[in-house]
């Protein structure tokens, strides 16, 4: 029997466009793999559509905002629909970059030193002194990024002190909290993790060499602007260490089915955790599909296995709802 899959794509985040492209790719592959697929946007029609379609499984391919902060998955649990990917509480943990960093650091991973600064704090303390203190502590270059969100939107690498204020202001255009983080020099890699049978397994790391040196939005979504090495050009021991670090991050954050963990590999081989993605990009230029191809996996077959894993009865849906209710009540 071919499962009926509802792919959720679009939404009303800054990453709507990327999400639609990812969603179409996933839907096409699943159709080729023999699934019946509908693609649904997240709007007032979603719940009626989900009730009418009654899919066997839902695959949220939503980037940003409700797609990654757990809330849409809360709704899926409420409706009792099995779905692909991480459950709501763990989504919240991964989505908030400072919380994710603290969690994986406790699990023993290296995390670049940084600080999360809410907009209101600058107002209360005065921006110049806060920025000065951050510069003193972390030095240049400094990475500035919104505490939530993906596709490098609002992200800058600040190389001159005079550019810091502007970078922070632009970051605030995307969210209320800015993360200022020490810039670690090294090799930029993304490690996707598959977790379909209870034991997370890292796919080959994909190494990113962006033409301008910055893997920004334009570099991410313009075919040809980035050279990828897949697998990454790392020695065996370093690649192994990186793979284990990604699996540990996936487990420490409580992620499910599939995730992508981004790192910088320092010159001494240390994998520095940057962030975790519960809804990794699935476009033509995205990293998870590249990692899967490098592992010799067929994407249609892989996505079908992901759907099957989401359908498996091992997953119960009650504990997390209770947990969320407790959080909401506290």
């Amino acid at each position: 029997m071919s499962p009926r899959v509802a792919v959720l794509a679009g939404g009303i985040s800054h990453e709507r466009d990327v999400s639609r492209r990812s969603g179409r790719r996933v839907a096409d592959a699943l159709r080729e793999a023999g699934c019946e697929v509908v693609v649904l946007d997240v709007d007032a029609g979603l719940i009626p559509s989900l009730r009418a379609e009654a899919p066997d499984v839902v695959w949220p391919v939503l980037h940003g905002a409700v797609g990654e902060d757990g809330s849409i998955r809360d709704v899926l649990e409420l409706l009792g629909l099995p779905y692909v990917g991480t459950r709501p509480t763990a989504c919240r943990r991964a989505w908030d970059k400072p919380v994710a960093a603290a969690t994986v650091e406790q699990a023993g991973l290296a995390v670049p030193p940084g600080i999360a600064l809410p907009h209101a704090l600058f107002r209360d303390l005065g921006a110049p002194v806060v920025l000065e203190a951050a510069l003193e502590r972390f030095g240049l270059p400094l990475v500035v990024k919104p505490s939530r969100g993906g596709s490098a939107l609002g992200m800058s690498i600040v190389r001159e002190a005079g550019d810091l204020a502007r970078a922070v202001v632009e970051c605030f255009a995307y969210g209320e909290t800015a993360v200022l983080q020490h810039f670690v020099a090294g090799t930029e890699v993304a490690v996707s993790v598959l977790d379909l049978d209870g034991s997370p397994r890292a796919l080959p790391a994909v190494e990113i060499v962006a033409d301008g040196g910055s893997y920004d939005y334009t570099a991410r979504y313009t075919a040809g602007a980035v050279e990828f090495f897949s697998p990454a050009r790392l020695d065996e021991a370093t690649a192994d260490r990186l793979a284990r670090a990604a699996e540990r991050a996936h487990e420490a954050l409580g992620l499910r089915h599939l995730s992508r963990i981004d790192f910088i590999v320092g010159e001494d081989g240390t994998p520095w955790f940057l962030e975790a993605n519960v809804a990794p990009g699935m476009t033509e230029t995205s990293l998870l599909p590249q990692g899967a191809v490098a592992a010799g996996l067929d994407l249609e077959d892989l996505y079908r296995r992901v759907v099957d894993a989401a359908l498996s009865p091992v997953v119960a849906g009650v504990a997390d709802v209770t947990e969320v209710a407790a959080v909401a009540a506290s």
């Binding site: 009303i12 204020a165 502007r166 080959p204 939005y217 334009t218 050279e227 990828f228 065996e236 490098a294």
Partner: protein, 468 residues
């Protein structure tokens, strides 16, 4: 092309690397370790592209427009005419009769210059602007956008100069960019392009040993600036152009959409030999027909026809005959009046909302067309502010889209053609909150927010045509 002729084949290399990874996994080694360094750019044809594709990249700003068609968002960004105001039943009847009675002609190839019956009617339409032309002078095109492309194709070599208003229509800038031309901007004010500034720009170009190929101008209800070239300035601009041997490309889709009386005489009406005039049915009827036109001096017209045949063979026969039938059987002038009244009401709502909610900004006073051009308080950057606006559920086009260089950060374009007056008021109210928050942030950081440390964005970053 056979496989062996391909310049590079990363997919085969990828497959080989992948096979290696699988073998390593089977042997118990970590996935991905110790493989040969094979890079891919995910596009095997990268080394084959023409130089002119260099600017065709993904853009953070353009991606933000993807949310603007959502009903929760008030879009003041797009330029879609308000088609619910059309007599759709009448047009349906015309289309039905056309296929039933003349289908074998309407669905056949036509002349590259366009159907004569339509060219005759275009000549009548242009009389409204005191243009006296012969149907022989008219080339029908696939929207006036194609006429822009044809003119650029006929006149521009890489590195040639086009003089254009500051700001300028983004769709024209994109055409000029694709022919690798350099755009030199000349400022405009409430009365349109400044003749003296044009003179100075041409003198400066000549001093630098460069000659502009043509002046690109939108004289009526300018997109994006919302201003009109005054009657007094029209002959002045033409005089400057004549003195410097400069051809004028008059792009005029909004001429009949003025809110106060008859349209001014077109520049083409003042100088038939020095002006290429472009018109369009996209705003007076419907853009879905994709029909516009060029009226050009005869030698230029011949080149345009040959370029058009190379490009599309001929414009849509069905569309041309349908529009010709509509013009001859329906009160099309009455319909344009309906549009004018609708857009005037929305213009009024926009200006009133700006006065109520955004007194800290300044704006132009459009007397027709679709757009108002807003100038933000000193130091604010409309491009950097756009994500905040999208979060607040309102969209506009940042001013940087309308310049070929790095100008325009302090400006934004609001369009009032598609949303209702109530939606416009709500959108401007939301925008006011965004501007206020941005001002507070600026005050907090005590620094002008102009300039962008990391993005190469701006020019050409406008929404696609399908955006409300």
């Amino acid at each position: 092309m056979s496989q062996s002729q391909r310049p590079a084949n990363p997919s085969a290399a990828e497959a080989a690397a992948a096979a290696g990874a699988v073998a390593a996994a089977a042997a118990g080694a970590p996935l991905g370790a110790g493989r040969a360094a094979v890079g891919t750019r995910l596009d095997p044809w990268l080394s084959s592209y023409a130089e002119r594709t260099r600017s065709m990249t993904a853009s953070e700003i353009r991606a933000l427009f993807a949310v603007a068609n959502r009903p929760e968002v008030v879009s003041l960004a797009g330029g879609m005419p308000y088609l619910p105001a059309l007599p759709l039943d009448v047009i349906a009847g015309i289309a039905q009769r056309l296929i039933a009675e003349r289908g074998a002609v309407a669905l056949q190839y036509g002349s590259g210059q366009g159907e004569e019956v339509l060219r005759e009617q275009i000549v009548q339409v242009m009389r409204e602007q005191q243009i006296h032309a012969s149907p022989e002078d008219v080339v029908v095109t696939t929207g006036s956008q194609q006429a822009l492309d044809l003119v650029a194709r006929v006149f521009l070599d890489p590195g040639d100069v086009v003089v254009a208003e500051a700001p300028s229509y983004v769709g024209a800038l994109n055409v000029f960019r694709s022919y690798q031309a350099d755009v030199v901007h000349v400022p405009l004010d409430a009365d349109g392009l400044q003749p003296q500034a044009l003179e100075e720009a041409l003198v400066a170009l000549e001093a630098a040993g460069r000659r502009a190929k043509f002046l690109y101008t939108v004289p009526n209800h300018h997109n994006p600036a919302g201003v009109t070239l005054s009657a007094a300035r029209r002959p002045q601009v033409l005089e400057v152009a004549r003195r410097h041997g400069l051809l004028v490309l008059e792009d005029d889709p909004y001429a009949l959409l003025g809110f106060d009386g008859d349209p001014l005489p077109a520049m083409r009406s003042l100088d038939a030999d020095g002006v290429i005039h472009l018109g369009s049915f996209s705003k007076t009827l419907a853009p879905g027909f994709r029909l516009g036109w060029a009226v050009a001096p005869h030698a230029v017209r011949e080149k345009l026809v040959m370029a058009a045949e190379a490009s599309v063979l001929c414009p849509t026969s069905f569309g041309q005959l349908a529009v010709a039938e509509y013009l001859s059987t329906y009160d099309w002038k009455g319909q344009v009046k309906t549009f004018r009244e609708l857009y005037r009401e929305r213009r009024d709502a926009t200006l009133q909302a700006l006065a109520t909610h955004l007194p800290m900004t300044t704006w132009t006073q459009p007397k027709g067309g679709f757009y108002v051009w807003v100038t933000l308080p000193e130091g604010l950057d409309a491009t950097a502010m756009l994500p905040r606006a999208v979060t607040a559920r309102v969209a506009y086009v940042p001013g940087t889209a309308f310049y070929a260089d790095d100008q325009g950060r302090q400006h934004l374009r609001l369009s009032y053609c598609f949303p209702t007056a109530e939606r416009i008021q709500e959108g401007v109210r939301r925008l006011a909150g965004v501007v206020q928050a941005e001002l507070e942030t600026q005050a907090m950081f005590g620094t002008p927010l102009h300039g962008h440390p990391h993005l190469h964005h701006g020019s050409g970053d406008a929404p696609g045509p399908e955006l409300a």
